[in-house]
Amino acid sequence: MDMEQVKNPPKGAVFPARAGKEDPRKSAGRSLRKMVRDLVEQIMNGVFFACGMAAILAVLLITGYMILAGLPAIGQIGVTEFLFGTRWASTAADPQFGILPFILTSAWGTLGAILIGVPIGLFTAVFLAKVASPRVAGMVRPAVELLAGIPSVVYGLIGMMVLVPAMMDIFDLNNGTCLLAAILVLAIMILPSISSVSETALRAVPREYEEASLALGATWIETIFKVSIPAAKSGIVAGVVLGVGRAIGEAMAVMMVAGNVANMPQLFKSVTFLTTAVAKEMSYASGLQRQALFSIALVLFIFIMIINALLNFVLKKGDSHE
């Protein structure tokens, strides 16, 4: 007899003769209930395990499909010709599938975006974490968050309607769609991620570091730039790497401002990025051309995986540092 029954004797009273004996029906019910409960417990165990494995499954699925879809065309075209060929003419009578222009454009575009976006993002983070009063920071931070939330097609639209005509006027071009326009759009798009990750890193710098520097006679600005930023280095690098990933993977905004011509990268020429090469032709491609697009996506995917691994490495190093 358990506590529950001692406290509230079940209806129908307990006859002295039966005291101490279990009602066989009731005990059967209880063991059945216990069985059901254990079963539910087992099932939920399995369900949660399955959910936990979903992310792994998704990564395997994506990796598998990228490799399966991307390899055949590379094999057919030849690795060196594909990666280092300088001419992309997928619909010509004698089709050429060299993606070096796309790779270089993506590399230069990302580099340009980083060169512009990182200083602004980092300085904004300094402002938010170290310089601004909590009230002012409370007004600027939502601006950064909103910038992050604006859909890429909206960036593309504004770039197309404002930046591209401006390029034509300022640099006297026939056609404003160019690498520089794409770089500027990308710089704005990666600014929020760099800023918010750097801000978190700057906030995590131990107060004592800064106090020690101030006590030695350094000004607050000197302290920030010579003590706080070096101390928050790994977090800031993580933000930059995240920005690189964003910039290299962005498709729609870039497609609307870069012109999508397979030129070698030049600031004032229409260019095609790895992402836009895929997005532009996918809707009508067929045969080898279509397979080659999957190969481009595979190259992009490999770049992204390298960046991901790098990001993980930087973050791990930052953790072990603390």
Partner: protein, 287 residues
């Protein structure tokens, strides 16, 4: 000028330059946002007409309406959340409450990080290959929704995990000590206590779905048909607002419609950000 004075002048210049840079950068960031939002509203709001909002596009009358795109956006948000939410929350619960193997946890977390880093165009391609072709869903809202499920999984897992970690260990010990089974404890104690985090994850996911275009272009397509039956709706191609913006601007040169959609998207982004902030604040108050 002696050596000390020179050095202090240098220091003052350094101080001034960097202070100016910091303020200028913050100003640029805020100005960018204000100009972007202002420009989109000024160009877009005059073109948000009842006809645009409440009709389907018609080739006969030569009118453009984005009602189908609005509906498609809503459908795809609902579908994606209904599927992704249980899986994502389940995964987070598994990681914080069940898993004991540290290696396995770190592999799952690495996979989640990886998913978060994959660009949406790659999701679009894999979605097209796997859901649309391999599973035979064709270019449809269903394919698009399934693709987005994978895409927002990391967001939901991460925010839920964060809020599960704020549930005090004493709650768990209390529940288990009273004889609750693990599932009962999760159902009645853990999940309700981390509801705010789950809601935040939902709101962030909605933001991502609303803004998504590259992953949907080849999976959900650009269709604008409206049908009364849900089943038919999901088996047909349907463009969301973001995709419609791209199509109207890039393929048809309808810039006014583009700006009108952009203004609507901006309003949605503002609302979603506000809601996420509110949910986040509630979470903080509780913790």
């Amino acid at each position: 000028m002696n050596e000390t004075e020179k050095r202090s002048l240098n220091r003052r210049v350094y101080e001034g330059v960097f202070r100016a840079l910091v303020y200028a950068s913050a100003l640029v960031t805020v100005a960018l946002l204000v100009v972007l939002i202002g420009y989109v509203f000024v160009r877009g709001i005059p073109y948000i007409t009842p006809q645009l909002l409440f009709t389907s596009p018609s080739a006969i009358k030569d009118t453009i309406g984005i009602l189908p795109n609005i509906l498609n956006t809503l459908y795809i948000i609902l579908f994606t959340l209904i599927i992704a939410l249980p899986i994502g929350v389940g995964a987070a619960v598994y990681l914080t409450e069940y898993a004991s193997n540290r290696r396995l946890i770190s592999v799952v977390e690495f996979a989640t990080e990886t998913l978060a880093g994959i660009p949406s165009i790659i999701y679009g391609l894999v979605g097209m290959l796997f859901f649309a072709q391999m599973l035979g869903f064709k270019t449809s809202l269903l394919s698009g929704g399934c693709t987005l499920v994978i895409m927002i999984l990391p967001t939901i897992i991460r925010t839920t995990q964060e809020s599960l970690k704020t549930v005090p260990a004493s709650y768990r010990e209390g529940a288990l000590g009273l004889g609750a089974t693990k599932w009962y404890m999760i159902r009645t104690i853990i999940l309700p206590s981390s509801l705010n985090g789950i809601i935040t994850g939902c709101i962030l996911s909605i933001g991502r779905i609303v803004g998504e275009s590259a992953a949907l272009l080849f999976t959900a397509g650009v269709g604008t048909a409206v049908s009364a039956s849900i089943l038919r709706t999901f088996s047909r191609s349907g463009g969301t607002l973001s995709v419609a913006l791209y199509m109207y601007v890039s393929e048809r040169g309808e810039f006014d419609v583009g700006f009108a959609i952009a203004a609507i998207l901006m309003v949605l982004v503002l609302l979603i950000n506000g809601a996420a902030k509110l949910a986040g604040r509630k979470l903080k108050n509780k913790a």
